[in-house]
Amino acid sequence: MGLRRWSALAVALALAASAPARARTTLTLGVEAEQDRAVARAPTSLRSALTGSLTALYDDGRTLRLMGAVHAVRDREAPERDRIGIREISGQIGIGDVELRAGRQFIRWGRLDALRAIDPFRRRDLADPLDDADESIWAASATVYRGGYAIEAVWVPFFQGDRIPYDPKSPWCYFPGQTVGEGGQVVAAVYDEGRVRAPGDGVAGSEVGLRIDASPAGYDLGLSFSRAAERIPATFAVVGTSWTEDGALRATVDPSYATCWMAGIDGAWPLGDGTVRAEAALLAPAQGDARGHFVRGGVGADWPFDGLVAGRTVDLFVTYAFDGGSGRRGAYVGEGILATPDCYSHPFRHAVVARASMAASSTLALEAETLRDLQAGDAMLSCAARWSPANGLEIEGELRWVGGPDAGFLGRYDAYDTARLRARYAWSTSLPD
């Protein structure tokens, strides 16, 4: 048999082996309405948003999985949140022991339930930093599964920073809404994003990571290494000012980003009815950043308490996190530097997050969560109820209290105790094979 015939046979066998057993294509349409209102000192509407989404997923069950999601957001109260575009689009193909995945996707590393030390490819939406929302990132990854190990290599081809609010009307904007003008009078300030000073252009700005996962003898262990950008700017440099027609100072700021080396270890293991998780990472800023290396870490546990409330099980999650990088950026504030948003990338030096959740019935879930800064003393507490009266429909009410010293990350939002009402409906259908 000639080489060509062998090749044809090999291709035919490969195709037969990878032929979809029963492929599935699912389309999901979603709509969400949300109203947020500050209810404390100065009651005001914070968010009045309508979101629409369309998600398509193709899955052959064994080899190929493709998904794309687009969304459109219109927020009457916070126009900075408006957007229309791709939320996620990626494809995954599995060949033997290897899985390849590329596209705009979410890549989360680490194991803690909150405040992870090892999460270099996470991109955030800081339009409301208390929401702790993720943004997808363009990346490619390859994972090799061999002998109980999963070895994943990640490549992020170009720099993508967190979404940062520049509108000082937003309570979550880092910049002051007023400044001192010529003659000493207080004037309103507005901000424009100038040139993004990324860690590098093209390939020089790309990020790489390697992660090894194993689950030997009843516990999980992960080793992570990365050279990745910090997605919060290291500095905001004011590169130009002008006056608007209504007398406000317009400042153009250039965000400048740094790169960080990271080596980390994480693990999870069962303990009684619960699970313990831990992470530790050594981070070393690169590219002439004089902050030097620092350590981040944390430990967490989750535990179910049977029959604690009305005979129901309450799941409790507790995480303690330490960030040695907190407060280190103060040295970089200088002339022409507006400030450095250290609070976003290192919001706490010592912090605890605790969450309790309970299924009150088959349609009602209750959750309470608190985040406490152990150093500055500021804190947040939220209580939420989610009711799902029908398939695809979810109605959620939440109350959130924030308070404490202004020096703390949470304390700065002291005036924004919030009541939130959300309604979501999603409808999905599977297309014929």
């Binding site: 082996a17 057993a21 029963r22 599935r24 699912t26 999901t28 998600t55 997923l57 899955d59 069950g61 064994r62 999985r65 998904m67 999601a69 996620e88 990626s90 494809g91 995954q92 599995g94 033997g96 022991d97 899985e99 995945r101 596209g103 996707q105 979410f106 989360r108 194991r111 339930d113 994972t143 599964y145 999963a150 994943e152 996962d213 689950s215 003898a217 009843g218 999980d220 999870a268 293991w269 069962p270 303990l271 009684g272 009815d273 619960g274 699970t275 179910p304 049977d306 099980t313 299924a359 088959s362 029908a390 398939n391 695809g392 979810e394 979501r424 999603a426 409808w427 999905s428 599977s430």
Partner: protein, 265 residues
Amino acid sequence: MRTPWAAILVVVLAGTTVERALAAEPGDGDPREWMDRIQTEAAGPDERVEATMVLIEADGSRRARTTTMYQKDIAPGRTARRTEFSSPPEMAGSALLAIENLDRPDDWWIYLPAYHTTRRIAAANRGETYMGTDFSYEDLTDMDLGSYRFAWIGEEILEGVGCRLLEARPATEEERAGSLYGRRVYWVEKGKPVWRKVVLYGRDGSPLKQATNTSPVTSGGRLRWDITEMRDLASGHATRIEVRARRLEPLPERLFTERSLRRPG
């Protein structure tokens, strides 16, 4: 060319085992051996099942979830099971992986797309409700036979089919403390290594749940059921699993790893 004697032997022996199982009468043999046969029959080779889970409230109202379940024997006596939800939309993308172990508690992981992360969950927590259904995590894995005592306790005709009643009770302190159930009674179909009904009793002896299997089919020489219903006897709530498609096909081992639970969508 070498004759694949080993492969032929495996096929013959497997056939012999099934024939023996089919020929023998439950009640004639060791009840533990019968439970072993039942679990072996249910495990089987690589299998992919598409099913609809219908949650039935006590008032009769229903909510449906669509799932794909994958099963693979990863080592002798060790089965890995992976379940993915594709609807309703709020659950789409959620996945669960369970790997049975012989010498230590099973491994469990859950993937929730909202967090983009896989989490290990404690096997000791197996009494917890599985994704809002009437199944607990414990219901979805095989019994560790060494931790149970088995006995034949009677016979009964169930919907016209002769069954013998096989009782299983935890035999170790660890199992007594860790299991939701103090006793299980299986209606084993005469002549077949399958059960048609099981009643699960609490540690206090009261009946907690009842599962029934209906619509038998043969898939790849294995006995299977297209409808399984688990009913909570106290609340009247039930979960019914209706199989839409079933395929025996080789599945890659990577599907049964913690890391692979994290997938697009």
